[in-house]
């Protein structure tokens, strides 16, 4: 257990604390990571689970839960339009800014390796 924590720290120790917070708060699966990247690249998307799943190349059953969780945590906005439930990126500029920083940071291979390790470990 202790050894594991040490190993964890070796990987995540160098992550900027703000980015580490972001990781802990939002990124507990690779699907979420993919969805975030998708919303970052296409920031004015507003669509249903089925369509977002199609765009992201995932199946709707998998994506549904992840979208709902991201909405609960405030990264996405969930809107009910009649019988449709649709998702869009939160309008909050601060959240958009954090997302931008995270996606930009993940262009860096070192950061990506650490972040991936963190996601695999399930955060802590």
């Amino acid at each position: 257990m202790e050894r594991e924590n040490l190993a964890n720290r070796a990987y995540t120790g160098d992550i900027d604390p703000e980015l580490l917070d972001f990781l802990n708060q939002y990124v507990d699966s690779f699907i979420k990571w993919d969805l975030m990247r998708f919303f970052f690249n296409n920031p004015h998307t507003i669509d249903t689970v089925d369509n977002i799943a199609r765009y992201a190349g995932r199946n709707p059953e998998t994506v549904e839960q992840e979208l709902a969780e991201l909405a609960m945590r405030g990264l996405l906005e969930e809107t009910h339009m009649g019988t449709l439930v649709v998702y869009a990126l939160a309008a909050d500029p601060e959240i958009r800014d954090q997302l931008a920083r995270f996606i930009q940071a993940s262009e860096d291979r070192q950061f990506r390796i650490r972040a991936i390790y963190h996601v695999i470990k399930g955060g802590y």
């Binding site: 690249n41 296409n42 004015h44 507003i46 249903t48 369509n51 339009m81 009649g82 449709l84 649709v86």
Partner: protein
């Protein structure tokens, strides 16, 4: 009608065909085969508006917004910067969601119209509405409702539509959406590939424009480094394989008169 009152497209040569531009708050259909330049013309219309006091939306049902940013950049149009300045927004959605949004009081699109002062919208493409129903009457009602909602928002709208006819002289099949749309819209423009002396050219024609005179020539256009440029009409027989342009004109007219 004076030119100032028109929604200038900024496509050289095309505005003259429209006698100054689209009519404000009108619904305009742009039809053509894949790759012939519909999205480019649409982006040009939106870019011109965004840089001339008429902010715009691009509503995409098939292409990722990132592709618009990229393609636009190829023509020297910085869509990301225009988005930052709140003069443009590329929205990806689906027909179902858009319909539901427009039916809501204070929906997203209505919000953007009031916050950004949006005046123009490109819907790329209306063909996606066909997925929503197999019933032609229902489809017509859907399209009608959609067009009216955009009119209510005061927008000058351009709808692209995929036509699976490659060359202008091919036989056209009966097509429900096309007949609905051509009836519902204020103007109807077609892009076509034309084969002349075994070279493929691009052609544009304004088939209809409600409440305005318009050019009735079939004109050639090119896609250059700054977008579409409309040129001279295909004229005379010199250098043109015998009959082809006439043939094409006839099929255009046949297709149009049939409605």
């Amino acid at each position: 009608m004076q030119a100032e009152e028109r929604a200038v497209t900024g496509v050289p040569g095309f505005d003259a065909m429209l006698r100054g531009g689209f009519l404000p708050r009108s619904a305009n259909l742009l039809e053509g085969a894949p790759g012939c330049g519909k999205t480019t013309l649409g982006m040009q219309f939106i870019h011109y508006g965004a840089t001339h006091g008429e902010p715009g939306l691009i509503l995409t049902f098939e292409q990722f917004p990132e592709q618009y940013y990229r393609d636009a950049a190829g023509f020297g149009w910085d869509f990301r910067e225009l988005e930052r300045r709140r003069l443009l927004q590329v929205i990806m959605s689906s027909p179902e969601v858009t319909k539901a949004d427009l039916e809501r009081f204070n929906g997203r699109i209505a919000g953007l119209v009031s916050n950004m002062g949006v005046k123009r919208i490109l819907v790329d493409s209306i063909s996606q509405f066909e997925r929503m129903t197999d019933d032609p009457v229902e489809l017509r009602n859907l399209l009608h409702g959609f067009l009216n909602a955009l009119r209510r928002e005061g927008l000058t709208a351009l709808f692209t539509r995929e036509a699976y006819v490659l060359l202008g002289d091919e036989q056209r099949e009966e097509d429900e959406t096309e007949s609905s749309m051509s009836f519902l819209v204020d103007s109807y423009v077609m892009l076509r590939y034309v084969e002349i002396e075994s070279a493929i050219h691009r052609a544009i024609i304004v088939l209809k424009m409600r409440g305005s005179a318009h050019d009735t020539h079939i004109r050639q256009f090119e896609i250059g480094p700054h977008g579409l440029v409309v040129q001279e009409p295909f004229r005379g027989r010199e250098g043109i394989l015998s009959g082809t342009p006439q043939y094409m004109a006839e099929s255009f007219i046949k297709a149009f008169v049939r409605r």
